[in-house]
C-alpha cells in the first residue's frame, strides 16, 4: 500500500475518498491550537493571528527550546485530549476553514457535524510518541499568542510526512470512536456478568 500524503493547502476534493480507519500523512503547515486559543476565537471573538484556511491544526502543547533571536526548536510534540475542544470545534471549522484537526482520542457530535458540513477530518496521532513527532517537524516558522505560555501558544510548524494520522471522523461525519464504543460496552457487560460470579468473596 502506498503512503497517502496530504499537502496543504488542502481542498475539499482531496478528502472525499478518505474514510475512518484510513492512515494518512501530512506535509505543509500544522499549527498547534488548543483550549485557550479555541476559547479566544469562539467565545471572546478575538480573531486568530493566522489564516488557517486549507491548513491543519494540532491539539498539542509541545516542549520547545528557545534558541534566541526568535528562533525555536521543537524538542517533543504530541497530542492532547481532543474532547476538550469539542465545545468549540464546529464553529472553529466554520470560521477558519481549517481542513485537518489532529489530536488524541475521539470527538463528539458537534465536530462530526462540522466535519460533514465543511468537509474536514479529525485525525489521531498516536499519543506518547513525541520525539518521533518532533523529528517530522522541519521548522517552526512563526509563533503567536506567546502570552499563553509554552503549551498554549500557536506554534506554526512546517512538517514533512507527519504521521501516522488515523482518521477518526471523516467528511461524511462517521466517527470511529463512537462505533467502537458500542462494541466495547457490549463486551464489557459480558465480562462483568462472568467476573462478578467469580468474586463473591463476602459470604
Amino acid at each position: 500500500m502506498s503512503k497517502k500524503v496530504l499537502t496543504t493547502p488542502i481542498k475539499d476534493e482531496d478528502l472525499k475518498d478518505i474514510r475512518i480507519g484510513d492512515i494518512i500523512y501530512l506535509t505543509g503547515t500544522l499549527v498547534t491550537c488548543r483550549d485557550v486559543a479555541h476559547r479566544r476565537l469562539i467565545e471572546e471573538k478575538i480573531p486568530l493571528p493566522i489564516d488557517l484556511k486549507g491548513k491543519a491544526i494540532f491539539h498539542a502543547g509541545p516542549i520547545v527550546r528557545d534558541l534566541g533571536n526568535e528562533q525555536y526548536e521543537i524538542v517533543s510534540i504530541g497530542p492532547t485530549t481532543s474532547m476538550r475542544m469539542e465545545k468549540f470545534e464546529k464553529e472553529f471549522i466554520e470560521e477558519t476553514g481549517v481542513k485537518l484537526i489532529v489530536g488524541k482520542g475521539g470527538m463528539g457530535k458537534n465536530t462530526e457535524e462540522g466535519c460533514k458540513t465543511h468537509k474536514a477530518l479529525h485525525l489521531v496521532f498516536p499519543a506518547g510518541n513525541a520525539v518521533y513527532g518532533a523529528t517530522k517537524v522541519e521548522e517552526i516558522k512563526e509563533v503567536h499568542w506567546k502570552d499563553l505560555g509554552m503549551p498554549e501558544s500557536l506554534w506554526v510548524c512546517e512538517v514533512k510526512e507527519f504521521g501516522p494520522l488515523i482518521v477518526s471522523i471523516d467528511t461524511e461525519g462517521n466517527n470511529i470512536f463512537e462505533e467502537n464504543k458500542i462494541e466495547f460496552n457490549k463486551r464489557k457487560e459480558e465480562q462483568y456478568e462472568y467476573i462478578s460470579q467469580q468474586v463473591r468473596f463476602i459470604k
Binding site: 492512515i23 485530549t81 498516536p126 520525539v131 518521533y132 501516522p164 470512536f177 466495547f184
Partner: protein, 299 residues
C-alpha cells in the same frame, strides 16, 4: 562529605534520575509492550506499536522526553530511620525536579490552584507530591519516581461501596471506568486498583499498585485471582493501543489492599498509560545507588 555536599550530590543524582525516567521506560514495561505487539493482529494497532518502538528508540538516543507530557512528579519514599539525609529529603526531591526541568528539559506542569497561574518551574504548592514511609533499623532509602501525565491521571476515581455490593461492585466500578475514560488514557494501560476502608486509603493503594512491576501478583490468593480476572476481562474488551481497537487492552491489573471497616469497602482506580514512566532507585548511607527498574543504566 559534609551535609551540604551530600545534599548537593543527591540532588544532582536525583535530577539525572528524573531525566532518565523521562526518556527511558522501565524494563518490565518495555518487555510487556513488546509481548503485546507480537500478539497483536490488528493492522492499525500494529502500526501504532511500530511508531511507539521507534519513538522510544529516538528518545533514548536523543535523551529527550519520550512523551511531551512529563507529568507532575510523584515520589513514593521508604526511608530508613538512620538514612543521613532523612530530614533534607523533601527539599532534595523538590530541588531535583526543578533542576531536571531546566536541564532535560521537562514541561512546566505546575499550575497553582485558585490563583490559576503556571509557576513556570514545574514545582508548586504540594508538587512534586511526596509520600512517606519510615523503615526501622535501616540506613537506606528507596525512592519510586513517577511522572503522572494528565491523560493517564484523568481516569482516576475513588468511592466507598456498601459491603452488600461486594467485590462484584469493585469489578463493575473498574470495568465502567475502562470504557469511559480508560480508552482515552493511552492504552495499553497498567490498571491500579486500591481496596481499603475509605476514599483516601483506597486511592493511595491504587497508586501504589502502579509502582508494582507489570506481571507481579498480589500475595493474597483472592486478590491475585481478581487481578487475573480483571486483566483477562479488560483485555477481552479489546481497546487496543490508543483505544482504536486491538487484541488486548492492558499491560496488567495490579491490586493493592488494606483492611476495611465492617460497613465499608473503599475502592479506587488509577491508570498508567503505555508510557508508564516510573523508576526505582535505592541509596545507601554513602549515596551509592542501585536502579532496579532500568538494568545496566548509570547516571
Amino acid at each position: 562529605m559534609d551535609k551540604k555536599q551530600q545534599k548537593e550530590k543527591m540532588t544532582g543524582l536525583m535530577s539525572k534520575f528524573v531525566s532518565l525516567v523521562s526518556y527511558k521506560l522501565p524494563d518490565d514495561v518495555e518487555k510487556k509492550l513488546k509481548e503485546l505487539s507480537e500478539e497483536e493482529d490488528n493492522h492499525l494497532a500494529k502500526i501504532i506499536y511500530k511508531t511507539m518502538f521507534e519513538n522510544q528508540q529516538l528518545a533514548f538516543e536523543l535523551k529527550r522526553p519520550s512523551c511531551q507530557d512529563t507529568g507532575v512528579l510523584q515520589f513514593f519514599v521508604k526511608c530508613g530511620e538512620n538514612f543521613p539525609l532523612i530530614g533534607q529529603l523533601d527539599n532534595i526531591l523538590r530541588e531535583s525536579v526543578f533542576k531536571s526541568t531546566k536541564e532535560t528539559p521537562l514541561r512546566h506542569n505546575s499550575v497553582e490552584t485558585f490563583d490559576e497561574y503556571n509557576t513556570g518551574k514545574n514545582i508548586g504548592n504540594g508538587t512534586p507530591s511526596i509520600f512517606w514511609e519510615i523503615e526501622e533499623d535501616s540506613d537506606k532509602v528507596e525512592i519510586y519516581t513517577y511522572m503522572a501525565g494528565g491523560g493517564c491521571t484523568l481516569p482516576g476515581v475513588a468511592t466507598v461501596l456498601m459491603p452488600g455490593e461486594g467485590y462484584e461492585g469493585v469489578v463493575k466500578f473498574v470495568l465502567d471506568r475502562m470504557t469511559s475514560y480508560g480508552l482515552n488514557a493511552c492504552p495499553p494501560l497498567l490498571v491500579g486498583v486500591g481496596v481499603g476502608t475509605s476514599v483516601e486509603t483506597a486511592a493511595l493503594n491504587s497508586k501504589l499498585a502502579l509502582m508494582r512491576p507489570v506481571g507481579s501478583r498480589n500475595e493474597n490468593e483472592n486478590a491475585a485471582k481478581m487481578e487475573q480476572l480483571l486483566e483477562d476481562g479488560i483485555n477481552a474488551i479489546g481497546l487496543g493501543p490508543q483505544g482504536l481497537k486491538g487484541s488486548k487492552s492492558v499491560m496488567g491489573v495490579n491490586v493493592v489492599n488494606t483492611a476495611r471497616h465492617p460497613s465499608t469497602i473503599g475502592v479506587a482506580v488509577n491508570t498508567g498509560c503505555w508510557s508508564h514512566r516510573r523508576g526505582k532507585i535505592t541509596f545507601d548511607r554513602d549515596l551509592n545507588y542501585v536502579i532496579d527498574t532500568h538494568e545496566g543504566v548509570t547516571l
